[in-house]
């Protein structure tokens, strides 16, 4: 019987939530790595029992954990992330040069085809790759050595590479996004990278239409149409129909176009989800109402989805990696909040129920659909 496994990273550990295909009764397993920050936990598409987790604290630094049994047991693997060559400098908040310093892994993206190959997006922004099950890591240095690297600047959350998207139809094509440098694409497996920020407009930077410097919060893609990308920028929800070469705004009738999370329905490539957040100075939903907004037209026309979600006195945030979908016939949508709730909708957003209400602040949510 089919089922789902929801992998939740929080400020104080990881949790594995499982249910059968009805997604009504949930088993909660955890905390794993209690007391540590779990920025991201993700499973291999090629082997669902192979999971990778990013475990860190400000005290003890970064560890990477690997599971070969779907999260029942874990083993620490390689945690040595060394920038290739002389790291050089990027811009600090005040515009002065600042040396590149490794801080943590924000995102782990396992290969679509090889369980032992996994990418890590790190702060200060760089991309690393392991081909031995995360035992050793090597920087994909073509990205950081892009000519614009010295001009990259951190966003409020640090200069993090938080989004990695692998193109299922073009093995050498990959997208990444950095706060606050923008989005980049490689078409040759990581040797050469191209900024893909044309059409983005950010009023908070000196040149609102600059090649780099945009605070991209997250990017999503549907695997059946990998040239179509959806972006939640700091402000603005954007869309590209040509692999990021040009973006156009599709914020439409959203109550606010600030937010972090964005995702695409598993079976409807024009159906997308965002969680509008009031503003960059007030990181909570407008009017104290937690609502997911869905567009079935690839943007511009949005509808609020609120059944089962708190509609008064709700002041949580939904972070960039904290939304995911399953691939069951009736697409399930999931998201976690900084208040520790993980909500699930087994019917594409029509109705929501909390799987758990009182976890530590949720940093990431990923879903595996199990046969």
């Amino acid at each position: 019987m089919s089922g789902v496994r929801v992998l939740v990273g929080t400020r104080k550990g990881a949790f594995v939530l499982t249910a059968d295909g009805k997604r009504e009764c949930w088993e909660v397993n955890g905390p794993h790595f209690a007391g540590w920050e779990l920025y991201h936990v993700k499973g291999s598409p090629a082997d669902p029992n192979r999971l990778y987790a990013s475990q860190s604290t400000g005290w003890f630094g970064q560890l990477i954990q690997r599971s070969n049994d779907g999260g029942k047991s874990w083993e620490p693997v390689g945690n040595k992330f060394v920038y290739d060559g002389i790291p050089g400098t990027h811009k600090w908040y005040d515009g002065t040069p600042h040396p590149w310093e490794f801080k943590r892994v924000w995102h782990l993206e396992p290969s679509l085809t090889d369980p032992d190959t996994v990418y890590a997006g790190v702060e200060d922004a760089a991309l690393f790759r392991s081909t031995d099950g995360a035992q050793t890591w090597e920087e994909v240095s073509g990205l950081r050595n892009h000519g614009t690297g010295p001009s990259w600047q951190p966003g409020a959350g640090g200069m993090c590479l938080h989004t990695i998207i692998l193109d299922p139809s073009h093995p050498d094509r990959m997208y990444i996004a950095i706060s606050a440098a923008g989005a980049f694409r490689t078409d040759d497996g990581g040797k050469i990278w191209k900024p893909i920020n044309r059409g983005l407009h950010s009023q908070y930077i000196p040149d609102p239409d600059a090649e780099v410097g945009h605070c991209v919060h997250h990017v999503a893609m549907h695997r059946s149409r990998p040239e179509v990308l959806f972006m939640q920028k700091h402000w603005d929800v954007m869309r590209s129909d040509n692999a990021g070469d040009l973006w156009r705004e599709v914020s439409g009738n959203l109550p606010t176009d600030f937010g972090f999370a964005i995702d695409v329905h598993a079976h409807e490539p024009e159906t997308i989800y965002v969680v509008p957040i009031k503003s960059d100075s007030e990181h909570f939903p407008p009017d104290g109402k937690l609502r997911v907004f869905r567009s079935k037209t690839g943007g511009n026309e949005w509808e609020a989805l609120a059944k089962g979600l708190p509609q008064h006195d709700c002041y949580v945030n939904v972070l960039r990696d904290a939304m995911a979908v399953d691939t069951l016939d009736s697409c399930g949508v999931y998201f976690g909040t900084t208040g520790g709730q993980v909500y699930a909708s087994p019917d594409a957003g029509e109705n929501w129920v909390p799987i758990v209400r009182d976890l530590p602040a949720v940093l990431s949510v990923e879903v595996q659909t199990l046969a």
Partner: protein
């Protein structure tokens, strides 16, 4: 034999319940103790000091015999009482954060 007291998170990582007893090659220094500790528990590499620069992580400090040894040279001899195992070498996490 050197006695090392680890913070609780590192005990969990290393799967030890109490203090750690270490044989150290040569003279007992902060560096030789940490080298021996990481050799015995490879999972601790990078959690106490940077894997490349070998600098102490900023939110950790080293104490022994009621002295803060964090800023001393890592190659300075540890007190005799630590080298002889009478007093432990403490690795302590800062009381900070939430």
């Amino acid at each position: 034999m050197i006695l090392v007291v680890l913070p609780s998170h590192l005990k969990t990582l290393a799967h030890v319940s109490g203090d750690v007893q270490l044989e150290v090659q040569g003279g007992a220094t902060v560096r030789s103790v940490l080298d021996a500790l990481e050799a015995r528990f490879p999972v601790l590499r990078g959690t106490i000091r940077d894997q490349v620069t070998l600098e102490r992580r900023p939110f950790l400090r080293f104490f022994a015999c009621e002295e803060d040894l964090s800023l001393a040279s890592p190659d300075a001899p540890l007190p005799d009482a630590v080298a002889s195992g009478k007093e432990p070498f403490f690795i302590i996490g800062a009381i900070a954060g939430g």
